[in-house]
Amino acid sequence: MFDPYYLQQLAIGLSQGVIYALMAIGFTLIFGVLNVVNFAHGEVYTVGAFAGLLLITAFAPPFLVVLFVVLAVGAALGFGLERIAFKPFRRFSDEASLKSRAMRESTLMSSLAVSIVAREGLEIAFGSQMQTLPFEYLINKPIAIGPVTIVTGDVIIFVVAALMLGGLQYLLTKTRVGLSIRAVSANPLGAKYVGIDTDRTIVTTFAIGSMMGAGAGILVGLYYGAIFPAMGFVPGIKAFVAMVMGGLSSIPGAVICALLLGLSEGLATTFISSNWADMVAYGFLIVTLIFFPQGLFGAGRERV
């Protein structure tokens, strides 16, 4: 009696959601320590995908090697990004500057400027079209489970996202690095006073977060077989929305909201035209914010 069609749509929505979640994890982590939106996260995702593409076309290594190299590239990108676009703005450590909104917003703009340069640079180097990928690398071989069809990529992305989330939770709660990240995001000044090297903590967080972003980029690139300079834009916005819906401070919250977003978009297509599906996602966000002004999982929780 239950229409397998809905199961299929559910599966599709879920796989969309996992992709958003992959992106949202890194986004939330970085937001946590600095309290600034990192506009360049979408470009980290794109550059990660292009790094993977270059590697594949040059050496054709096994899939796992590609993934690990891209993760390393991502970490390097995060390090570089933090040094270029964020660190210079922490040179003013007086209280007025720390509280100044202009300072905070300018960090936001510096990441935007870096993202413009990165995207336009990629466009000049590669052209804005979708890049051709060797078919054997694509992770889109169908797997039929009863009436529902998923692809290998769904499984891979799900496993990677679960591993990332688990690993991150372990890192944050069980290790000293994680402790210092949580300390900095709870109160940067306080963390400094108790002897935490905030600078190092921040850069570490960027490396970890960007690693995840770049990993997401190559996975999604191989999943859709579509790698192009503007690919990071939409997932970037969706990850941002998921993060805020989840309450900014909670990574599991962001993941759950990313899944919800994906699901709502997938199911919306059934009832309304797919070009209106965005409306549902954003409407959902507004309604959530009206009733839970601190996000779904935000209030009263420890940051990160």
Binding site: Y5, G127, S128, P142, A226, A230, S273, S274, N275, A277
Partner: protein
């Protein structure tokens, strides 16, 4: 500051040409070409530029005119703000007698307001908005609109017994016209449109939409997409194990589609007015030049741009030496039986091209003509 910049740009554009050019040449005649060379649609603009360069080099080498013709390329990013500014810039340059472009209908139409006011002939290779050529007597285009292609496809599908059709198209002015003209003809011929839906250009995931189409149980799908969305659509269709015939328009006719979708593109049927493997000499030499420049076969759009440039040059030749914007317009309007690579082109009184369409299908990784 502005003066120096303009001068610099001028020098940069003129310098390389004047060295190779003839010493006695009078002032060159200029054509403006506004196209997206950067931004999300840059790949199309870059293609047009290559096609235009091929056409222009040949023309200048042929010596049909005692003076050189130059093309001034300006990057519009497919942004109406920039497109309008470029239009004003072209209008200001008295040496420019005609304008080619833009790529999207939106930018072409925003710029068209300027050209209409100033009296500048504008020939777009791709603007397919139904109202584009109606803006004024100065607008021409070298693309068959969906008013021609849609019914052609509908008749083709009906003749193959595919009567229940799901129609999807991108949510652009072009996509709107794709569904409209196709659906009108299909219903008139006794078919039914079981579902019409639009998607946003650049959507990565079509699977929800595909599942929805599958539930509507059509005999075939008629699609208005460009090659990138097309590749995604076809790949994901294969993933879901869903197989019905897919028909499309000339916009999907691009070698990149096959490159991106690989075996999943097999069986895609579409109409086109450019056949790269046609034996016609003009097509052969264009394809050769293109392959030399780009290393792959050209698709429909570069061919259209190539023809658009040649039609414009032809109009300039006809008017020379009394080449003015008005005379070029009249010459364009009088274009008749122009032998282009996209077929023989004649502008009707509505400044729309009349062209022959052909049917092709992807078989064995190539667009192969079919007779059905």
């Amino acid at each position: 500051m502005t003066v120096t910049r303009r001068t610099l740009v001028g020098i940069a554009l003129v310098a390389p040409l004047s060295f190779v050019g003839t010493a006695f040449a009078a002032d060159p005649i200029k054509i403006g070409y506004q196209l997206p060379l950067t931004g999300n649609t840059a790949q199309y603009g870059q293609d047009f530029k290559t096609a235009a360069e091929i056409a222009l080099d040949r023309f200048n080498a042929s010596g049909k005119l005692p003076v050189k013709v130059e093309i001034v390329y300006e990057d519009s990013r497919s942004d109406a703000k920039e497109g309008v500014a470029i239009a004003r810039k072209f209008v200001d340059d008295e040496k420019i007698v005609g304008v080619l472009g833009d790529f999207t209908s939106g930018v072409s139409m925003a710029a068209a307001q300027v050209y209409k006011e100033a009296g500048m002939p504008q020939l777009s290779q791709t603007a397919s908005h139904p109202d584009y050529a109606k803006i004024s007597e100065w607008q021409f285009r070298n693309i068959t609109t969906q008013a021609g292609e849609g019914p052609y496809n509908a008749d083709w599908m009906v003749s193959k017994g595919l009567k229940k059709v799901a129609v999807i198209a991108e949510q652009t002015d072009w996509g709107q016209s794709v569904t409209k003209y196709f659906s009108d003809e299909l219903t008139a011929k006794g078919g039914t449109v079981v579902m019409t839906e639009y998607f946003n250009r650049g959507t990565p995931d079509f699977r929800s939409l595909l599942a929805k189409i599958e539930r509507a149980k059509p005999d075939a799908i008629y699609t208005g997409f460009f090659y990138e969305d097309g590749a995604n659509f076809l790949k994901q269709m294969k993933q879901l194990g869903y197989a019905v015939p897919v028909f499309s328009t000339s916009a999907a006719h691009n070698q990149k589609l096959i490159e991106l979708a690989g075996p999943d593109a097999e069986g895609l049927s579409l109409t086109t007015n450019f056949l790269p493997n046609s034996p016609k000499p003009e097509v052969k030499s264009f394809v050769e030049a293109w392959v030399k420049a780009r290393g792959a076969e050209p698709g429909q759009f570069p061919a259209q741009a190539f023809d658009a440039v040649n039609i414009m040059l032809d109009a300039i030749v006809k008017t020379y030496p009394k080449t003015t914007r008005a005379s070029v317009r009249d010459a364009l309007a009088a274009t008749k039986d122009f032998p282009g690579v996209t077929g023989v082109t004649t502008f009707g009184p509505d400044r729309e091209p009349v062209k022959q369409l052909s049917k092709v299908r992807v078989v064995g990784g190539v667009f192969s003509p079919v007779a059905e």
